[in-house]
Symmetry: D2
């Protein structure tokens, strides 16, 4: 077993920062020790390797709890495989992803899980787990939920959007929530009123309005607010925890705030694209707007302030990416002449940790809050703590040595995601994941990928640790 010391850095947790050396034995952290203490010294002297973290932040590897690798969507697939996608994640300081296995209508949950396990197996550079998208709520799938929770799949995603595809009725939703309540599972919700949106879309197309900009205009934020409130009320009736995915709208946030003020088990995530980009991107000339088509859509400027405030107040507890990349060429282009044919999704798994760090740079959040948002809360929310999400004895040695003063410019020409554009092209940022370890192994170092395909292991998860 190899021994590594990360010494001289500032170890940051969700509650504060301390000077400490991190002692790693094999895959796990065995101790945190005061720098210069006998304990630190004796371990270091016998260590195989010492990583100098002077002037660096030593933080738990990020968890991106919302990715879609190789997702079939609209006749194509999201363009990152588990291999390319997890490698890009590693570059960006993320050492765990939770992707979504998809139950197809008429199939069993387990079929979906097995299919996705198969896609991932042997391909991942970092550890991974799965949520399950439940497309077909029926007696069989409810029974499977019960079993799967015991097996380590503890979160199930439903859709109030996409009628005819992933959409569940309010009855299906309530039934799944009742099951989740029994199982201690967390229901994840894509909260947009898809029925109403589909009407607006049809009316818009009928008027000949087919450009990418109409994607945003046909999905008003009020309909995200409405669906979010509906999900919250249904969860209240069922008594189940609820986690709103990719929240984008001030109206939706307001519904979450009210529920949380009441002490409800309601949680929400947002994504970097909603924190940094606006609906103006979809108005770009030509077909360029298609690069920014995702659902829910990018919102008008005034929503962004609300979202940043939500990060501060913990009404938004997590930032994930909803990474779902489609190349502009041939993929996004499927929607020329009909915005509904543009594959929905944006690339981002590589940029999340850095982008949220800009909140620290700008003074909007503390460095502790950054760690909480990118690692600690995701780990606790989805039952991986303290294995992931914290630097503590016994935890997996998933660690990022972060250079808080490094400068980068985001660009498709330098990123590692398998997609031909960047939604943040040219953005100058401060801070960078310098060295990244996954289970004790250095996988990013000196600007090189040092990991390997298949190193990443599948993680069985416990239930949400925020529930009372």
């Amino acid at each position: 077993m190899s021994r590594t010391v990360i010494g001289g850095g500032t170890v940051v947790s969700a509650t504060g920062s301390v000077a400490a050396d991190v002692l790693i034995d094999g895959e796990r952290i065995v101790a945190l020790a005061a720098p210069g203490s006998e304990t630190a010294e004796s371990f270091t002297s016998g260590a195989d390797r010492r990583i100098d973290a002077s002037g660096r932040l030593v933080v738990p590897g990020g968890l991106d709890v919302h990715t879609h690798m190789e997702l079939p969507f609209g006749g194509t697939y999201s363009n990152d495989t588990f291999e390319t996608g997890t490698r890009a994640a590693a570059w960006g300081g993320t050492t765990t992803i939770i992707d979504f296995a998809v139950q197809r209508r008429g199939e069993a949950l387990r079929q979906g899980l097995d299919a996705w396990l198969a896609k991932a197996a042997g391909n991942c550079a970092i550890d991974y787990a799965f949520h399950l998208i439940v497309s077909d709520v029926n007696e069989q799938s409810l029974k499977e939920m019960d079993i799967l929770v015991d097996e380590g799949v503890t979160s199930f995603k439903l859709f109030m959007a996409y009628p005819g595809v992933f959409y569940s009725t309010d009855g299906d939703i309530l039934r799944a929530m009742q099951q989740a309540s029994v199982d201690g599972a967390t229901i994840m919700m894509h909260a947009e009123n898809g029925i109403a949106i589909d009407l607006i879309v049809a009316e818009t197309l009928a008027r000949g309005e087919t450009d990418p900009r109409f994607h945003g205009r046909t999905r008003p934020s009020a309909l995200e607010g409405e669906a979010t409130n509906r999900a919250i009320q249904l969860a209240g009736v069922a008594g189940s925890p609820l986690y709103i995915v990719h929240l984008t709208a001030a109206e939706a946030l307001e519904a979450v705030v009210q529920a949380r003020d009441a002490g409800r088990n309601v949680f929400a995530e947002t994504c970097p694209q909603y924190l940094f980009l606006t609906d103006a991107e979809m108005e770009r000339p030509g077909f360029e707007g298609a690069k920014y088509v995702c659902s829910p859509p990018l919102r008008p400027e005034w929503h962004l302030g609300a979202l940043w405030r939500g990060l501060k107040t913990n009404d938004l507890s997590v930032v994930s990416t909803d990474h779902c990349p489609f190349c502009f060429k041939e993929q996004k282009e499927l929607g020329r002449g009909d915005f509904t044919k543009i594959p929905n999704g944006l690339p981002g798994v590589e940029n999340r940790v850095d982008l949220i760090y800009q909140g620290v740079v700008r003074g909007d959040i503390s460095v502790e809050r950054w760690v909480e948002l990118i690692a600690t809360t995701p780990a606790r929310m989805f039952g991986l703590y303290p294995r992931k999400g914290v630097i503590a004895p016994g935890a997996d040695a998933d660690i990022v040595v972060y250079d808080p003063g490094a400068h980068q410019t985001i660009s498709a020409s330098t990123h590692h995601m398998n997609v031909d554009y960047s939604i943040y092209e040219g953005m100058a940022i401060t801070g960078k994941a310098e060295t990244v370890l996954s289970r004790g192994v250095v996988i990013i170092e000196d600007g090189q990928f040092a990991g390997e395909k298949g190193h990443g292991r599948y993680l069985e998860r416990g239930t949400n640790q925020y529930l009372i």
Copy 2:
């Protein structure tokens, strides 16, 4: 230097629990190590002492950030000295107190601080620090605030109650807040509309209503809500952080919730008495009600649910005691025939950690939230983290080995506070601080006080770590 290991226990932080051995060298924690690891074993073999924490929670010593030892009030003194009061605190698992030094009108802040430093010096069983009560806002005291922050007194308390005694006008409050804004200091506020209350009190006495019960009836919760909102608005104008002390009323909590939802630097504490007792206590026959006279007063039942919800949502971030004990005999009795002469204050420094643990026993809060409420947040709020409030390398070895299954019955006949009654007399509770360490020294063990007067040191503090 003595070496101690606390082994085999579950180390609880604000974010989660891990199995870890805590290695202590002298006054400080030098490492946390995985149990059974070589690091743990080698340290243990050379240690002077091993405390077996099997089946126990190993938690940071509590911080009670609101106590009044030897406080002159209404012609008498609160009956715990720094010696008796800090010893009682230790018994209850509290290893740091922040008491209030008092500036008298016409004197300098420093005179107040020096007087309280003198009272405490050489007497305390545990570490201690001071906030400063500012009774006289003037150019001189504002200049002193500036200096004192640099010297480690970073929080200043003002009163909207007690006209003629501690009361400050809204102009004084705003001026002090402006200074705090410049200094990064935190303004602490006793938020009751004392001017309005004094009118009601005078009218009540004029009607011949003099029993203890009228103490509560003359201080309606709406006037706490009003003052809380006023303090928040003034702090908003000044741009200063605000910490509401001993919040008791649902109306006041609502004002705090709104401010926090808006992302404001507004914080609040409550106290165990407001979480467990109601205004019915003041209605006790004879003069017994006087035992429960404090300000703000105990509230009607319906407020309690709101406060517990506030603990859950973090709109109440801290539980302190406002420990200010007066004996029933001779002290509380000063108010026979005139409730305004009853010394205001209740004993409690010994009971806080255990009482809040009942929230864990009842399933209202998690064990992590308990640690956060009693130790981590108080330490971060008042600039003592990571020296206090966390178990981490480099931190002071202020540690409680807590037996989660122990049974106790609270009683004046067994408590260690220097007061002749208990407000919780006869209450059966679960959980107990079994072994308590202060800066590496065991001070409570085997049901004995093993500490000593004068062990406790004065702490200079940094500023509030929650500010952005």
Copy 3:
């Protein structure tokens, strides 16, 4: 043409009370004159009849804007015909009803309207109009909405409850709202999440819980709150006015309050049964609870205070009855052994004016607010003002001479509705409609019905007069 004077009374409007004589020529009011003025005297001397209203309130005849005469429901019909129902209404001081014509799925709106016009024609004792229930939103019905608004049917009701019967999807609702927005029509909404309720109902029946009490338990108030918010958000997207029918739940009221605080064209009515009765009625032994089965169901006590507050704040603008009587024998009894087979609906058209007057007796609302709730606002809301709802020159002489000091006891043995029980049996009340005129004709007098079948005329209506 006959001339009548109502003299010596206090004429009450929505804004205040004045001593005035009301001069009626034929069907209309021609003047209000100061008592004793030459104008009053000269008219009176030539009048055919003088009604002495000394000590009486002279108020506009009530408008009950939510009744269901002869409604087919669950294999039976509501037991009041237009003849018996409008006669009972007259007894209670109501001189206009707006009933609901029903479009059946697959039929045209006009077919529904024609069918209901035919049922009513020649049968009514008082004037009447129709809203239209839209069961089938399609291109044809949307076009008909456009036409019908011009013809005087300006309000259209949709259901979020009753899947498979009246239920509309959110898409249908949005589409109808868009049409209403263009037409200036008002959408009326039965706001309960029927899809979720049907699931709960099925689960409940599956557990063998079939008694009437389970009717209430399967329709939680949170699902009325949810649907109300959803309707409000959809109306916001469409830009249409919205009127929530029979609001019962504090959660629903809260959603209405928020919308109205924002200045939205959102309105709501409640019904007397929700203001006076609680869900305890459904718990009556035997099958007696069935007498109180309606949808939304009667609610727990705490909702009633919220509703009365809503009447005061004008967040509830109208009180209608949702009169839909089914005899206990043979009709309600259809649901023995299966609460879902109990016809939903309660009798009440005769009691509304008197019951709301109890709010005046108890000091909860003013006499002006009573007139506004029972007559003025309903008339303005549904485009009948100033023909109805006010005592003013040119208005129809629909007038109630109300004895504010009369005592009554409500009972099935004395009421005039065609139903074998009263939900208010034995309730002692103060106030009574002494004399009632419809279009200048006395129809209730000296405790006798003096009107006649067929006197009532069909009313074409304008649009909602509250819209800006």
Copy 4:
């Protein structure tokens, strides 16, 4: 006694509009009659005069319930006397003012009232009444409140602003509210935190910032919001009605909204200047900004939308003017070099009815709401209804024949107020009071003032008619 008919117009009330002839006998309205009816015809044939109101709105004369004629302020007097001010009011369609008599510190309330009665006696063109400003809350003034309510002075104004002048402490305020609660009187409140403002003002002057623009900057809207909430809470404790004068700030409106949603007897007015002008006016070059100095100050743009919404939702129930004119020359100029010396107050009594009518022109409010805001609600709020505020038999014949299509341009060169500038100079508006009657006498006609000094009578008032 003279008889007048106003025929052919549309009589507008707060609830709707009807075609009706208004028959006036002497000072009072004796009847409203349907045009062309025998009643109308016979009266008209015997009338002394017929005013043709074809194409005109016939509305109750306006009530301006907040004026300050001849007010001593800062060493000068507001420049309109009761003679010039009431004449200007008449020009603008206002037929009643309620001015403020001022109790000076150390004097009796009655001394203040008598002084103001003396100023007004024999000088007014229209009817008038008084509120009383209570500067000195003591046992004597509380006893006088009791007596004055019986004599027809039913509203008392207190100040949270202007320490050392009109300012009352919270204790004084609470005591006066308790008295008002007993008497059924309404407390009117100038709600700004004057203590905090005075500190900011002193700091500002100390920095040498003396221009008019600093008037606005030293009175932040948060301090109006704070004081408004405080007044509401104190009124809640006392159980008294509360009327917030000249509300300007969104924060203050929010406090009022919350109280009104809870069904509290809390009311508020705003003024035209706050609806049409912003703080940008105070930034005018030179000393021009002084023309716009009033308290509370004009606010940033975003507050205006909130105020207009409040007019719509009835959270703002009244629009008054706070008419308090000071000439720019010699009066406003007193504040050159020190903005605190600028007399606070703006002219406006002549413009109110027309300016609010612009809300009708722009489609923000209905014509009925306009009548309610300018006449009906003020009359009900201050106990003058139905004598004033409505066109009904028995009411005083205070009537405005309003030309809804007339065009005017507001200018100091044409206005009738005794002040050398207009805050609305050059504003083009639609609508104009064409003919104005006060108690049956035409006082404005054909662009001429036809009234006379001394026609106006003093009005004893009843209590607030909105209380339950």
